[in-house]
Symmetry: C2
Subunit: 485 residues, 2 copies
Amino acid sequence: MKPNLAEKLSYHMEPDAFRRFGYAVVDWIADYYKSIESYPVLARVSPGDVRASLPPKPPQQGEEFERILEDFAQFILPGVTHWQSPNFFAYFPCNASGPSILGDLLSSGLGVQGMLWATSPACTELEALVLDWLVDALGLPKQFLSTSAGGGVIQDTASSASLCALLAARERATNFESNRTGIRGRLVAYASAQAHSSIEKAVQIAGIGRENLRLMEVDEQFAMRTEALAALIDKDRKAGLVPFFVCATLGTTSSNAIDPLPQLGPICRQHGMWLHVDAAMSGTAALCPEFRHIQHGLEYADSYCFNPHKWMFTNFDCDCFYVAERKVLIQTLSVLPEYLRNQATESGAVIDYRDWHIPLGRRFRSLKLWFVLRHYGIQGLQFHIREHVRLAQEFASWVKKDPRFELVVEPPLNLVCFRLRAGDDENQQLMDALNRSGDLYLTHTKLNGRFTLRLSVGQTNTSEQHVQRAWRHIAEQASRLLISA
Amino acid sequence: MKPNLAEKLSYHMEPDAFRRFGYAVVDWIADYYKSIESYPVLARVSPGDVRASLPPKPPQQGEEFERILEDFAQFILPGVTHWQSPNFFAYFPCNASGPSILGDLLSSGLGVQGMLWATSPACTELEALVLDWLVDALGLPKQFLSTSAGGGVIQDTASSASLCALLAARERATNFESNRTGIRGRLVAYASAQAHSSIEKAVQIAGIGRENLRLMEVDEQFAMRTEALAALIDKDRKAGLVPFFVCATLGTTSSNAIDPLPQLGPICRQHGMWLHVDAAMSGTAALCPEFRHIQHGLEYADSYCFNPHKWMFTNFDCDCFYVAERKVLIQTLSVLPEYLRNQATESGAVIDYRDWHIPLGRRFRSLKLWFVLRHYGIQGLQFHIREHVRLAQEFASWVKKDPRFELVVEPPLNLVCFRLRAGDDENQQLMDALNRSGDLYLTHTKLNGRFTLRLSVGQTNTSEQHVQRAWRHIAEQASRLLISA
């Protein structure tokens, strides 16, 4: 046999090189977590800095892996905001954990694409199972089990899940005509003014139109007013419009407000409207029976989503989306070209998850969730969720005791909304100074029209000392600010 | 100081444990790639098998990591279809590589969420840079550079990218009214009957309606007929409809057909229609100047997408989506709530990628693409792409020489469509027998109404020997089938 040159020449990283470099990356990550508090939480670069430090053209010749990793540390890292720092209190958390990162690594290594059951049965079956496990662990209504008429699926984000809910609702409300004919009627959707911006985005995408979304005023707890919803629906119906969708939020982004499902649910039922419940961050709290009251009334919901990638130690992206009637969702999103036909699909005995969301291709995301649930066990997860809530409540008690500050609303769980008893400018200055210090990172919202600071406790490694230190920094900075004012 | 029990008790995997278990997962992946050809390519489980092997309820107590990894190998792996096997010739590839897997691991480890420039400047700036690098490497029109009025963004899949293109087109065609009012007119979209199913899905999602999508007949190469498009647009305009969007495909899923951009482009310009170009798989070929002819006429495009997660050794998910005028896309998809406001956004000096796609949250996906481009260099990527095309062409020459088979169409690149000169049933039987053997995996389509086998060459480690062996198996199986018939 003559030697085949083409077979010998390869630019791929061979398995043993992968092993060596893989160890190096694992080491880098382990060391990163050990030293993470030494970095300023919020990146200090200016627009364009990172890009300017890198070559404007791609390399023609391949480079050594060690060099790439060095460049990462030298040029990329300074532009990173450290979401995994225990001093990260901004937005909602996006917490990761060792078992999750390793489950995700295994998913990358296997490189399966689970669009159909047939293209990797384990990818579909583990996902359905783990989502059923979570129904059990969170005490969700049985209608969301895949062994019932419903079921769950992993999506990238709550934005995408809410869009899918809206589309299924649109299709159901038009007797499954809107996919075919487009939007012709005047469908109307409802949410509170505190609902996530993704609802407005979804309404736009789905062709409903922003002017057919009613963003309703809220009560003093920033929750949806049931009477306002009932009155608006009546008014819209009398005007010949078709109310079809309500999005309720369990734990709004601004203040963690909880919309009242036991009151909203019957109204949706009465009018045959789809009730979608968005619990992106707070849904995880239901792991603990003592916090499960937030989801009272969830049995009225047609769909539900929450994000393990926010507060359940599962690295981004991982949103769990449940529907009570999977056939409505599937009928809404299924298109079956010849090249995807296969015996398993035609048997009707399997789930093909491509019909449960917008993309066709899909990653093996249930692995990381399975790793998290098995590593922590339900008890381990409960422990850390309880800690986060306890720390937030403790922080709120310190705010209350300091006469310079006010608590804007009682924190239901792990998000504290507070402000200096001063103007918006002073509060903005306080926040900016804290974030510039690099010691912690927090962000703001507006409540009752006023600039409000948010302290969100949910980062994996945030413990008592970090919350204490955060408060110390805030109090000290406030002193400096008030003296110089 | 009294000892704080809460601080001591933690269920998290500490950095040194992460290091140890990380090595174990890296080892598992390295060994997997060494032994990957020992597994049947297509999983052999029956519906329900994987699930039945796992406990119906989540564990209350956490478990040892070693145990989780063992269970993965014992219960999950048998249900995996080996997309990374060099004997995987089904669908389009979803190829991964060492540098990509490690770049993705680093992304999981950092755990940043790059929705805004401010939430991790490096995540945004590296993405913009790497997408500009690809404009250079692929010879794409300059209008797609982020340093022009356009720019690129990483999306999960081409399905999502095409939906975003359609939404921007819808908004532009309605003078930016459709987001506000919903769909009122009769917008009409056009694609060839061979376009990907995601176009139909997008038209449904966007409220345009399937009956306002014209899926046009194709020519003998399965490409869009320009005259047919022009005639249909005229007819629709005369009927008072509003033609607004054309999706052209470079490399259709069924047969890799190339729609003629130099002819389609001027028609779109003439009628002010949005031209979106979907090159999900074949776009990567343009790394090689000799294959760049497929994208002649791309300067007419308003948007373009291709998937490094298909053929550019970058693990799922990674679709590169480019627009010529980013302000149209941003105006279509931007919703700015108070809690996302920040100085960098307001300065106008930065990209906030959340306004470039449907989800709000986003992963640091450019890291894996940067790792791939630097590890291989353009020359390394070109080498492997050329090899894949050469092997597919060689396979086609064997098909042509065997009188029992016919080539259904000349393969433009790396996808070969062929069939036994026999009925659909025989071809289905041939495919099923091959897939059952575990030696290789290939899938089918219908062309000219007839069952057609597809051999897609693009898996990272597929080399001459694998394609030779695939052909030997196919020829032998055909002999058995024709004898027994």
